[in-house]
Symmetry: C2
Subunit: 253 residues, 2 copies
DNA sequence: AAGTGGTCTAGACCACCGT
DNA sequence: CGGTGGTCTAGACCACTTG
């Protein structure tokens, strides 16, 4: 029925620099479908057989495209059921970006308490990190995370204002699930990957008060840049972690 | 020539709990070849076609096995050349386990200065982490790492003594490349993966002196457990990182 | 030119999930 | 049972490296 949307590049005669295998072209097309919202978080995408017909390739080629996307946490395969668009609303992916765990594996109650949310304009530092113009709108959120009632993390979060218009403290407080879940379902901004930079620092007066530690005591500073599709940075986050009874766990493959 | 070594399990009639696809059985066989030293770090393994014949499966099945092993950094594919056993001697994989980077991307001179190496007996803590008997032999190494001459990391390293007999300060000093490279080439112990737990702590007198920081100033404590084949822990390392001009970089997929 | 890994296909069959 | 993803095969051809 449909003409082959891939065929033009199918026999890439370009010698090597721009060579891209078919399955990667399919992958790019599928990412476009995600960006465009054709397939929404939590949805099932069409079956491999359907996609093979749609893109006029074999099922094996579609599989390779999906394999890569699943490896990058964009899609989730479920044998017997289908392939689904990954979502931050799924409790299973809650700790995908939060590497903090209690020293004694017991995962107690978790609580996020946002206490400030304001429109500011981008400082030179924020503008540089988020690749936006100096002075352009930015949403700044401040919050404390508690585990079993005790404050463990103080976050200062900077968002590209353009993408999060109308975000307010009330909305933050009203929302039950994680921040990324809110960003995804209310603002349509999906975080795909992130970079974190860690340092040890001394608690200043504010940190000390919020985290109920002595001023000058050591804190783990975690700076995160989170990216959406196309490697576009949309969030910069500075988190101060009190590592009295928790630690940051990292698996090195 | 050879009888099919896989066939017995080929048609797994066990309903589901123990089901293991062919390619994963091939993978396990190949891991055995690595453990046994049939294929040594840096070596090329047989071609996919040869392995397909040897295991009496199709090339595609061998490929899937190799795919997984390459994804787990056990093997390295090189198009046109072959598939090679990963090695810590390869400078490209030097930073596979070291996530410390300078704040300004400039990667200056690196220097490892071991200054102590002794046989001790396993304390309760070390015994628990390394899964060995209390009091059994352990090699303890202490060293400082310098970047551009400045001390940045102080490591206390505990190794399962049984596997590292004859390790001495002289040998450590004589060896040019990384510790893991030495472990691999001299003792035949390959580190496959590791877990790191990070906390912020205050520098004690010893740390402070070795890292030339004020006593009580914040340090990043990185505790690492490194595993060899079969998820066997063989190294426990406590590293104190001075994060004045460096940070710990982590990519969240 | 020969040898290696990398891509793509078409088809068969298996494991898992829902109805 | 039908539909989904998962495995396995055999064969063709492409891209990269080396001689």
């Amino acid at each position: 029925m449909s003409l082959d949307p891939v065929d033009p590049a199918r026999h890439m005669r370009t010698p090597s620099l721009t060579f891209s295998p078919l399955y990667r072209q399919i992958k790019e097309l599928m990412i476009k479908s995600l960006e465009a919202g054709e397939w929404r978080p939590g949805d099932a995408i069409p079956s491999e057989a359907e996609l093979a017909v749609r893109f006029n390739v074999s099922q094996g080629t579609v599989r390779k495209a999906i394999d890569e996307m699943a490896a990058e946490n964009m899609l989730v395969r479920r044998q017997g059921k289908g392939t689904f668009v990954a979502t931050h609303s799924d409790p299973r992916s809650f700790f995908r970006f939060l590497r903090l765990v209690p020293d004694n594996g017991e995962l107690g109650n978790y609580q996020s308490e946002p206490f400030a949310c304001q429109q500011i304009s981008a400082s030179p530092e924020v503008a540089a990190v988020l690749h936006i113009d100096l002075g352009s709108p930015v949403v700044k959120i401040e919050r404390v995370m508690r585990f079993d009632g005790k404050p463990v993390v103080f976050d200062e979060i900077f968002l590209v204002g353009e993408l999060f218009e109308g975000l307010s403290l009330e909305r933050l407080r009203a929302f039950e699930r994680s921040l990324y879940s809110l960003f995804e379902s209310v603002f349509g901004v999906r975080m795909i990957r992130a970079e974190e930079r860690l340092r040890a620092v001394e608690a200043d007066a504010r940190n000390a008060e919020l985290l109920t530690v002595e001023m000058g005591s050591p804190l783990l500073l975690v700076e995160r840049i989170a990216f959406t599709y196309g490697n576009k940075p949309v969030e910069w986050r500075r988190g101060y972690y009190a590592t009295r009874q928790h630690h940051y766990l990292n698996e090195l493959g």
